[in-house]
């Protein structure tokens, strides 16, 4: 499966290059890196999966946890992706402005659209799962950070970085609620994900929409065999929130890119 994907993405890259070549064969500079004065967009796609086998995952479907054998049904899976950066081979990076997004597993194709990136070849992408500490202490915010998104604690100011809710016969009261956050101190739940694109660079150019495709393993919350019986309610910053955030962030694996 893995092999075929790599082969497939390789094919797509070849196809893309070929396509570029034919579409603009009157342009001599075509094979050079596009000028950074030009801008392009890219997308990060989040494909929610279940377990290391990357089995299909869907809200309202019952999944069996590969390690604990517990049955788990999600009703909600939402999280912040912020501070998206694209990295170049020379170590420089481009940081998206006002980079705050909510990824919601209920969307048909959960993704983050990153705009206005200087054209060029990039070697990797990084982002935070959560909201940087500054925006947690800066008062009224808009866009993805609008408190009306219900990803905000009103009584102990701060954003809920990751919201996972659902049911399980193993959980207390048969429901689980994970509202994970905490932007400071040893229990900070802010996590960074960095992924190199590997051998193939991502080419940002006007009129192109390359994408980075992440597999997100929703079973990772219970990594290491945590039972829902032990942990069914986490609704404030603390050691448990921090642990669950570490586990979940470990479930983000870059699968392939499309150019």
């Amino acid at each position: 499966m893995k092999f075929s994907k790599i082969a497939l993405s390789g094919l797509l890259i070849i196809a893309a290059i070929t396509f570029q070549n034919c579409s603009s064969d009157d342009d001599n500079n075509n094979n050079n890196t596009p000028s950074p004065a030009m801008k392009g967009d890219m997308e990060i796609k989040f494909d929610h999966r279940w377990g290391p086998s990357q089995a299909p995952f869907a809200l309202d479907n019952t999944h069996t946890h590969p390690a604990t054998g517990e049955e788990i049904t999600f009703t909600t899976l939402r999280y912040y992706i912020s501070n998206v950066r694209l990295h170049k081979s020379d170590g420089s990076t481009h940081a998206e402005e006002e980079s705050y997004h909510i990824v919601d597993a209920s969307a048909t194709f959960p993704k983050v659209h990153v705009k206005d990136i200087p054209a060029g070849d990039y070697t990797g992408v990084s982002f935070l799962i959560g909201v940087d500490s500054l925006r947690n202490v800066s008062g009224a915010q808009t866009g993805a950070l609008d408190p009306a998104e219900n990803m905000f604690w009103s009584w102990s100011t701060g954003y809920i970085f990751i919201k996972a809710e659902g049911s399980s016969p193993a959980a207390m009261n048969e429901t689980f609620t994970y509202h994970l956050g905490g932007f400071s101190g040893e229990n900070s739940a802010l996590r960074e994900v960095y992924s190199s694109f590997g051998d193939a660079d991502m080419r940002i150019a006007p009129d192109a929409l390359p994408s980075a495709h992440f597999m997100v393993n929703a079973a990772r919350f219970w990594h290491g065999g945590i039972s829902l019986g032990e942990m069914s309610m986490v609704h404030m910053p603390g050691a448990n929130a921090s642990l669950l955030a570490t586990n979940f962030s470990g479930g983000f694996i870059l699968d392939h890119i499309h150019n």
């Binding site: 008062g139 009224a140 609008d146 408190p147 009306a148 219900n150 009103s154 009584w155 102990s156 100011t157």
Partner: protein
């Protein structure tokens, strides 16, 4: 802004001595004729405010809109409770002498409603300091099921369908499209202007009046026995302390926010401004009057691991000292603040 008032209280306006204009400054270097509304202005004898106003300069339209929202019961889920229901001007914006306030459907919260004053100088809000920024305060009461019980998105669409609010937001923020941010900014313009700096004590501080011998005696006791925590012109150092109310904590106070056991049973030292008007007292409103508070410090302090070390032996007070202290605490009442029509229900 200058506080205007009527009748015998008029002389009290002198309190706003040489206000230092912070917000709403004209960019124009030339002197402009004075306007009736001058935005936010800090009293000269106050420190610099914590809230910067850079992103939210106070304007007359914004302040008036904030006031209208503050007193509008339709902001609650069932239209029965406004901010002003629990925060009553006559009580220094505390509740009407009840320990725990009633929200929608007569539901009760877990803490006593504090008076509101000088919020632009406050670094963290609520008894436990859980709210870190003045602009986001209203989210808690608007959405809490024991207060106004509303959903923010539903509230925004409700406001949008009213005839007057889109116009008001247009005038205040240049857009009739209402969003959470502008709702919060308007409420913040109003609440940040709730400045209490006109008490008899302020006038004494600025050399404009004398305290009576009894009040002065009380002030001296206060300075030696209370001002280590209730310090400075704001009458609090904003630290979190356990003043010995309990040895077993039903409300963990600051620890609820920090999860640090060393914070168990500690609460933000409250400002004592308008304290004679805001009974009952403490985070759960357990003491009906100031004498009970002083009896507590004198002989009721309970031991526990987090008790503030300075209170381990209580604060011994003779009966006459208690009376003098109360005389002094009454000088903290700001009658201009509680009667100024600028802050009153429209």
């Amino acid at each position: 802004m200058y506080f205007r008032t009527q009748g015998p209280l008029r002389w009290l306006i002198a309190a706003a001595v040489f206000p230092l204009l912070i917000g709403c400054r004209s960019d124009d270097a030339h002197e402009e004729p004075p306007k009736s509304f001058e935005g936010f202005s800090a009293p000269a004898h106050f420190p610099a405010p914590v809230y910067g106003f850079e992103n939210n300069p106070v304007t007359e339209a914004g302040f008036e809109l904030g006031k209208k929202l503050f007193y509008d019961k339709r902001l609650s889920a069932d239209g029965t409770v406004s901010c002003g229901t629990c925060h009553a001007q006559v009580h220094g914006f505390a509740d009407h002498n009840i320990p725990l306030s009633f929200g929608i459907e007569e539901r009760r919260g877990m803490r006593n409603t504090p008076g509101l004053a000088n919020l632009a100088w406050t670094p963290a809000f609520m008894w436990d300091g859980g709210i870190n920024h003045i602009e986001v305060i209203p989210i808690a009461p608007l959405t809490d099921s024991t207060e106004m019980g509303h959903d923010l998105a539903a509230l925004i669409s409700f406001l949008q369908t009213q005839t007057e609010y889109p116009k008001d937001f247009e005038t205040a923020f240049g857009s009739s499209e209402i969003d959470t941010r502008n709702l919060l900014l308007a409420l913040t313009q109003f609440q940040s202007c709730l400045i209490s700096a006109g008490s008899k004590y302020d006038q004494w501080l600025t050399g404009r009046t004398n305290l009576t011998p009894a009040e002065n005696e009380g002030r001296e006791i206060f300075e030696s026995k209370c001002a280590s925590c209730h310090s400075g012109v704001l009458l609090t150092d904003f630290s979190y302390r356990n003043n010995g109310l309990d040895s077993i904590f039903t409300d963990e106070g600051r620890m609820r926010i920090t999860l640090n056991p060393e914070d168990a049973g500690t609460f933000r030292v409250p400002s004592l401004r308008n304290v004679a008007l805001t009974s009952p007292y403490m985070h759960d409103g357990r003491f009906r009057n100031l004498m009970q508070v002083l009896d507590h410090y004198d002989s009721g302090v309970k031991q526990s691991a987090t008790l503030d070390p300075s209170l381990s032996g209580g604060i011994p007070l003779e009966d006459h000292e208690k009376e003098r202290l109360i005389d002094f605490l009454r000088t903290l009442s700001d009658y201009d603040f509680i009667s100024n029509h600028r802050f009153s229900e429209p």
